[in-house]
């Protein structure tokens, strides 16, 4: 079995070293490149796309969101993970909208760190109740801009999110974990993680569409 290649982008030298060493020490992972800013990250990505891109958001020469957007457009096969201090939903949801499918806390212990990368690679995206709630809110408001269209909530949500996806998000928001939700819905936990990744991708696609729409409206395209 081949190892999962990882590129790390982080401007804090100590943290970068920590992440690199975690990756390097794991037999399942191999470090492809490490970068401290967006410019060198772009250069590194041109040299070769990793299986997983780990990136910080606050970089000295720009926002990690842009890097996420570019990478997800150019290298669809690459899984993107955001490295965040708090895992607060605002940063995470913005990253998901840009194309990330996972996030990882900066203080995550090494073994958990590797586990999360491998889990993401296997199709399992992490999600907190707060993020689930934020996603539900965001997608519903995107689908039902006019609150007076009769069955807006349910009907509108069904267009972007499937009924099952809405249900899963709702249960996550209530604090149930994947195993419990799988039990409640009588499916395997893996199905639930797949749902989550699908939802993330939908948000990213929808956000791209929205961006195109906005650009058209402003006369950019």
């Amino acid at each position: 079995m081949s190892t999962t290649t990882v590129t790390v982008v982080e401007d804090d030298a100590a943290l970068l070293a920590r992440f690199c060493s975690i990756v390097a020490q794991s037999p399942e992972l191999s470090l492809l490149a490490a970068a401290g800013d967006i410019a060198s990250a772009r250069q590194a990505l041109q040299g070769g796309a990793p299986d997983v891109l780990l990136t910080d958001l606050g970089l000295p020469d720009g926002s990690g969101i842009d890097l996420i957007r570019e990478t997800s457009a150019r290298h669809p096969a690459t899984d993107i993970m955001v490295v965040t201090v708090f895992g607060d939903e605002r940063h995470v949801v913005d990253s998901i909208a840009a194309g990330a499918t996972g996030y990882i806390l900066k203080d995550t212990p090494p073994e958990e760190f590797v586990g999360l990368i491998l889990q993401l690679r296997a199709g399992g995206s992490p999600i907190s109740p707060a993020i689930a709630r934020q996603l539900l809110r965001r997608m519903r408001s995107a689908e039902a801009p006019a609150p007076d269209t009769t069955p807006a909530g349910a009907h509108g949500a069904a267009r972007l999110l499937s009924a099952r996806e809405s249900e899963v998000l709702g249960l996550i928001a209530k604090g149930f974990n994947f195993a419990e939700i799988a039990r409640l819905l009588a499916v395997s936990p893996h199905t639930i993680t797949a749902h989550v990744k699908k939802i993330y991708q939908k948000l990213a696609v929808h956000s791209r569409g929205e961006a195109v729409y906005e650009a058209t409206r402003m006369g950019l395209l």
Binding site: D88, E89, S128, P129, A130, A173, K174, G175
Partner: protein, 619 residues
């Protein structure tokens, strides 16, 4: 400025032009009668012979115009006129006989040959048009002496009369006829159409705007005038034959017209007194009734002078009253309105008087634009009404604009106020939040960092202890950040997030977590500050479980009661003594926090486990 001056002068030019045109129109009859001779001296004889009587008949001298009422009152039936005239030579152009007024049944004979006839003898029917032109057959007129006979039939209830006759070139007399017809018929039609149009239009506007009383009086004046024309001009011969009825209709219309004129003038002068207006209306009706009574009941009994006075009263009195009113308003109403109205009124009164004189001596000819004399007055009245209507509309619009401006100003003011209030509220919110964060930092992470620092500085802390202290700091910071996410009154995501954060640690200790939550009612108390308090209480509860109880399972359950919800955190650990110093302080802290959010905390601990119940109010 220049433009305005030009516009004004243009307006005046137009007015002057219109006046000139009127003068020219009036002057037009002055150049008639070219190439025609007027017969004024003749002979008259009564008799129903169908052919012109000879010299043996009892011819009497007569002068034209001949009014039978004056020359032979009470006479009716057939009669003949004879006029002799001489021509220097036989005319070589078509010739004709012309009469400006011929409203009886009549036949014209030239040198014994009939050349024309109006109506039918013995048949009280068509009276014919006012002016008549009869063509003379070529060769009928001779050089030297010629004779013209007129046969006349005066039917009962009709006045016998013969106007001046003219003999001459057909072409010239034809023009005279056209002029006569224009004077008599066309002017009537013009007046009728204009008066009817203005009256109907004004009335329709007044119908919708009852407050425009002046407009109403104007419209009624115009309509009364319009109705007068057909009666006056014999448009319905059937009515004209009923002299009495025609006279009554005419009088009524005239009285109505003058009454409305007076009422209009009252309004024009600015006196709005409905009671006075009603009285004037009654007075005019009474005047009319009196006239009727005098004419038809006391005919011949009363002095004709009285009759004449009363008759005159029907229009001279209101006419004069209107004039006086307009004069009186010279000071009050704008001069631009008063002067034209005054002039128009004078024209109409003069025309009216002339018409009245003319009516009794209709054959005299003279100024015949009788039906036009009311037009200037009508036009000026209409102009004034529209001017005032426009002015009141302008005023209303100005008022509206003013009002809109004021509303806009108020709106802007309100908006500014609102913005100020919103700003203040935002500032207040920021201040409150800042105070909360400050006290929170003080309570939480600040204290924790200081104790961690103390540990490190004392050198007594192991590596693990420092790491644990710092981890606690980060945990607390995360709680604070989680509490900032709007809860939307929903506790479940708050609990869920706490679980998400804590579960890996529980798992690491081999503690299972049973999650038994259900849908909860909305909790209005879930402000960010209160959310943080709840999170801290629960975090403390979990910390206790992790640190002290050696439990293997933790149950988290929610339940709903009247007025609140309960969160239970139950473990199967060994329990602890609530009065033990360290735990006691932690517990006191938790209780304090619970009270801050308006809730309550109960704790039961036994060697079989500990249950912490946090009650939160729904209201």
């Amino acid at each position: 400025m220049k433009r305005l001056a030009w516009a004004c002068s243009e307006r005046w030019l137009r007015c002057v032009g219109a006046a000139l045109a009127c003068v020219l129109l009036l002057a037009a009859p002055a150049r008639a009668d070219d190439g025609a001779m007027t017969l004024t001296e003749g002979e008259f004889v009564l008799g129903d012979a169908s052919a012109p009587p000879g010299d043996d008949a009892a011819w009497q001298r007569v002068a034209l115009p001949d009014l039978w009422d004056d020359s032979r009152p009470g006479t009716l039936g057939y009669a003949w006129y004879r006029f002799r005239f001489s021509l220097p030579r036989q005319p070589d152009t078509p010739q004709a006989v012309f009469s400006t007024r011929m409203r009886t049944v009549a036949a014209i004979f030239v040198n014994g040959t009939q050349v024309g006839q109006t109506g039918l003898f013995g048949k009280p029917d068509e009276l014919g048009a006012s002016a008549q032109l009869f063509q003379i057959q070529p060769g009928l007129l001779k050089t030297g002496s010629n004779v013209l006979h007129v046969r006349l039939w005066v039917e009962p209830d009709h006045a016998g009369r013969l106007a001046k006759l003219q003999v001459g070139e057909w072409v010239a007399l034809r023009q005279a006829l056209d002029r006569e017809r224009f004077k008599y018929d066309t002017t009537g039609e013009i007046t009728f159409a204009l008066a009817l149009g203005m009256g109907a239009f004004g009335l329709s506007v007044w119908w919708r705007r009852r407050d425009q009383t002046m407009l109403g009086y104007f419209s009624l004046t115009a309509l009364a005038l319009a109705c007068q024309i057909p009666v006056d001009s014999d448009w319905w011969p059937a009515l004209s034959r009923h002299h009495v009825l025609a006279w009554q209709v005419m009088s009524t219309l005239r009285v109505a017209k003058f009454t409305f004129l007076v009422l209009y003038s009252l309004r024009f002068a600015g006196w709005c007194n409905p009671r006075v207006e009603r009285l004037i209306g009654l007075a005019m009706v009474a005047n009319l009734a009196l006239l009727d009574l005098l004419v038809f009941e006391f005919d011949g009994v009363v002095d004709p002078a009285i009759l004449y006075t009363v008759n005159y009263g029907t229009f001279a009195l209101p006419g004069t009253a209107a004039l006086v009113l307009i004069l009186l308003s010279l000071r009050r109403a704008p001069l631009a309105e008063t002067v034209p109205l005054l002039l128009a009124h004078v024209v109409s009164v003069a025309g009216s008087m002339a018409a009245n004189i003319n009516e009794s001596t209709e054959l005299l000819g003279g100024v015949q634009y009788l039906r036009l004399h009311m037009l200037p007055l009508l036009l000026v009245m209409g102009w004034i009404v529209s001017r005032r209507f426009g002015a009141s509309l302008d005023a209303a619009e100005r008022l509206n604009r003013e009002l809109a401006g004021r509303i806009e100003a108020k709106r802007v003011e309100l908006e500014a106020n609102y913005r100020r209030v919103a700003d203040l509220e935002a500032q207040q919110a920021v201040a409150v939040e800042r105070a909360r964060l400050m006290s929170d930092m003080h309570d939480g992470i600040g204290g924790q960092l200081i104790s961690a620092l103390g540990l490190v500085e004392a050198g007594a802390a192991s590596h693990e202890q420092v790491a644990a202290a710092l981890r606690e700091c980060i945990d607390d910071l995360r709680l604070a950040i989680d509490s900032l996410e709007p809860a939307d009154d929903d506790l479940l995501p708050v609990l869920g997030n706490l679980r998400y954060r804590l579960e890996p640690r529980l798992k690491a200790r081999g503690i299972a977590l049973e999650w038994q939550v259900g849908d909860l009612p909305r909790l209005e108390c879930l402000t960010p500050g209160n959310v943080l308090q709840v999170l801290r209480i629960l975090q403390e509860a979990f910390t206790n479980v992790l640190k002290h109880t050696h439990a293997s399972v933790v149950h988290v359950a929610t339940s709903t009661q009247a007025g609140g919800i309960t969160i239970d955190v139950r473990d199967d650990g060994q329990g602890f003594d609530e009065h033990a110093c360290a735990q006691g302080r932690g517990l006191a802290n938790m209780r304090r926090r619970a009270r801050t959010v308006g809730g309550d905390l109960t704790l039961t601990s036994s060697p079989a486990g500990t249950t912490l119940s946090l009650l939160l109010p729904t209201g």
